[in-house]
Amino acid sequence: VREVILVNREALEGPLDSTLVDVIHHHESGPAHTLAFFFEGRPYHASVVRRGDQYHVVVDGQGFVVSFGRPQVQPAGRETDEGVLRAPMDCRVIAIHKAPGDPVERGEPVVRIESMKLESNLSARATGVVSALHVRVGESLRGGAVVAVIEGGNG
């Protein structure tokens, strides 16, 4: 089975062959790499930082996250199980609109969060009943943390 190469959480089409790359400069400092290379006759500069299974790449101001193989954890916001509501980024909970046992409609706000002075709602992605609520008002969350579980969903 060929490994899946994910770039910004989406699989890259076709195989990848590093022998087509002519690397003219490679500098390494801890997890950080600086590369200059030719690909199909054109020069590129890239900054690559390895963090665990993920490679953070910057080329021409554009940032990418590259990972090889199947991801261990579903990234935030791309949950296949629509009933699991996760924090989309590092944030703080400023209000909770639903309690365990409450019915909830798809699109309805479950909690209100704040990140860098910006407030937003975290809304249910499926209709159902709130079966678990894992956060409290004032709590700081890491991106990807599970906020609530909604059961019986038909999103």
Binding site: I5, Y44, V49, G61, F64, L118
Partner: protein, 498 residues
């Protein structure tokens, strides 16, 4: 350093990030010592590397650090500072802070607490400007307290209107109403929101211009009643009422209108006998200018004005605060070419939502006419406690066309790598937009008329190849090939194999 420049011995910079490094740079140039503050979240922030002395302020939340008036004053007194520069944001427009500085005998580098009080109250300020015949948008004269009052006003000035918090600013506590049926609910919601955000639920109404540009004029005034303008800036490229790309001078204004704009701005600053650096903000619908507000502080975008006028605005602020007369007169001021600034944020370019994280690599662009105001260091953590701005990249050249090309290249070479995202791809897209180059935009251009294009398959493939090269080279080094090891032993030596 001339004696004349030694206005203060030591200045405390009551701020963080890019603006703190910017202020410290001028302090150094003037031979004045500078003091930096930091919170728990800012232990790895580069701004503390630029000061002569650094002091710990407290926990990360701003209320316990950069907004804590008494803690800041305690540090200032303990360190023997004779002045405080508040930068922008945080306490820069807080009359209570200015008053406490005045009481403690420490110079607040900015206007008096009375002027801050007046300008912070949008209703009082608008009333004064109307009295002084500064053109304003049609709207309520004073606060709107009752729904009936709001309805009759809306019938008089016409829809759409914008509801604003009297104590608001930066787009917070505002709401646009396009349909009279929404008016009552909007009034309640803005009042509630502004009570929560600013501790005051007073609301006023203005006519809303669906398509207008945001243009502002830089002003300097001394303690002796002299005021000069330093020309205009264009700040229409915004998201969530926050500026993202700024230019100086503003394009596409007929010369006579531009001259009139500068005079109106000077007149508005005279009306409050302004002392220090301030910005008079206007909306421009292609025909008329409408006064919005006076920002009584250094602006984020002050750098574009500095690059076209050659004037160091922070130096002027410090001199004015020390009581020195203006060293510039209107006739000696002029502009050279054009400057454009892009604000780089830790933000997802597609959703425009904050994308904080840790910085592993930072490489700042360079070259003639390229200026970068930033505070980033490897290891700097961009937390969710403060504004997610990473820095500003500014380019100056003889024409807009050349400056924009310069800025585009500089942004491509500005490497900020780590677990955060940056808005650089979106900035590049705006800079390459024909409408931006022609100056054909308004304040909703970025949000409504620019559709972010995520990187294509080709760009994603290049990124994946770079990661693959790093992975394969690391793998090759970690596990030496079995053949090499075996043959090395067989020969009974340690010689290197080809």
């Amino acid at each position: 350093v001339s004696r004349e420049d030694r206005h203060f011995k030591k200045i405390l910079v009551a701020n963080r990030g890019s603006v703190a490094t910017r202020i410290m740079r001028t302090c150094r140039e003037m031979g004045i010592a500078s003091v930096a503050l930091y919170s728990d979240a800012d232990k790895g922030s580069g701004h503390i590397l630029h000061a002569d002395e650094i002091y710990y302020l407290g926990p990360s939340p701003a209320e316990e650090s950069y907004l804590h008036i008494e803690k800041i004053l305690q540090v200032a007194k303990g360190a023997g500072c004779d002045a405080i520069h508040p930068g922008y944001g945080f306490l820069s427009e807080n009359p209570a802070f200015a008053r406490r500085c005045e009481e403690e005998g420490i110079t607040f580098i900015g206007p008096s607490s009375e002027v801050l009080q007046l300008l912070g109250d949008k209703i009082d300020c608008l009333e004064l400007m109307r009295r002084m015949r500064v053109p304003t948008l049609p709207g309520s004269e004073g606060p709107v307290r009752a729904e009936a009052q709001a309805r009759s006003l809306v019938r008089e000035i016409g829809l759409p209107v914008i509801l604003k918090a009297s104590q608001g600013g930066g787009g917070l506590g505002t709401r646009i109403v396009r349909d009279e049926a929404e008016l009552d609910a909007a009034l309640v919601s803005v009042a509630l929101q502004s009570r929560k955000l600013f501790g005051d639920g007073t609301v006023f109404i203005e006519r809303y211009l669906p398509s207008a540009r945001h243009i502002e004029v830089q002003i300097l005034g001394d303690r002796h009643g002299h005021l000069v303008h330093l020309f205009d800036r264009e700040c229409s490229i915004q998201r969530r009422h926050q500026k993202v790309i700024e230019e100086a001078p503003s394009p596409n204004i007929p010369a006579r209108d531009r001259e009139r704009l500068h005079q109106i701005a000077l007149h508005a600053a005279h009306a409050v006998a302004y002392r220090g650096a301030c910005t008079v903000e206007f909306l421009y619908d292609g025909r008329d200018f409408y006064f919005l507000e006076i920002n009584p502080r250094l602006q984020v975008e002050h750098g574009v004005t500095e690059l076209i006028t050659g004037v160091d605005l922070v130096r002027q602020q410090i001199r004015i605060a020390a009581g020195a007369p203006l060293e510039l007169d209107q006739a000696s001021l002029s502009t050279t070419g054009y400057a454009v600034e892009a604000r780089v944020y830790a933000e997802d370019p597609a959703t425009l939502l904050p994308a904080p994280g840790t910085i592993d690599v930072v490489r700042v662009p360079y070259g003639q006419g390229v200026r970068v105001d930033t505070f980033l260091e490897p290891g700097t953590e961009i937390s969710d406690f403060y504004d997610p701005m990473l820095g500003k990249v500014i380019a100056q050249a003889r024409s807009k066309e050349v400056a924009v090309r310069k800025l585009t290249f500089a942004l491509r070479r500005f490497v900020v790598n780590g677990t955060l995202r940056t808005n650089i791809p979106l900035l590049l897209q705006v800079l390459e937009d024909e409408r931006f180059l022609r100056g054909e935009y308004d304040t909703v251009f970025l949000e409504k008329r620019v559709q972010y294009r995520p990187p294509g398959e080709e760009a994603r493939r290049i990124a994946a190849l770079a990661a693959l090269v790093v992975r394969e080279r690391a793998a090759a080094r970690e596990v030496p090939p079995a053949r090499a090891r075996a043959s090395g032993w067989r020969r009974g030596g340690w010689e290197l194999l080809p």
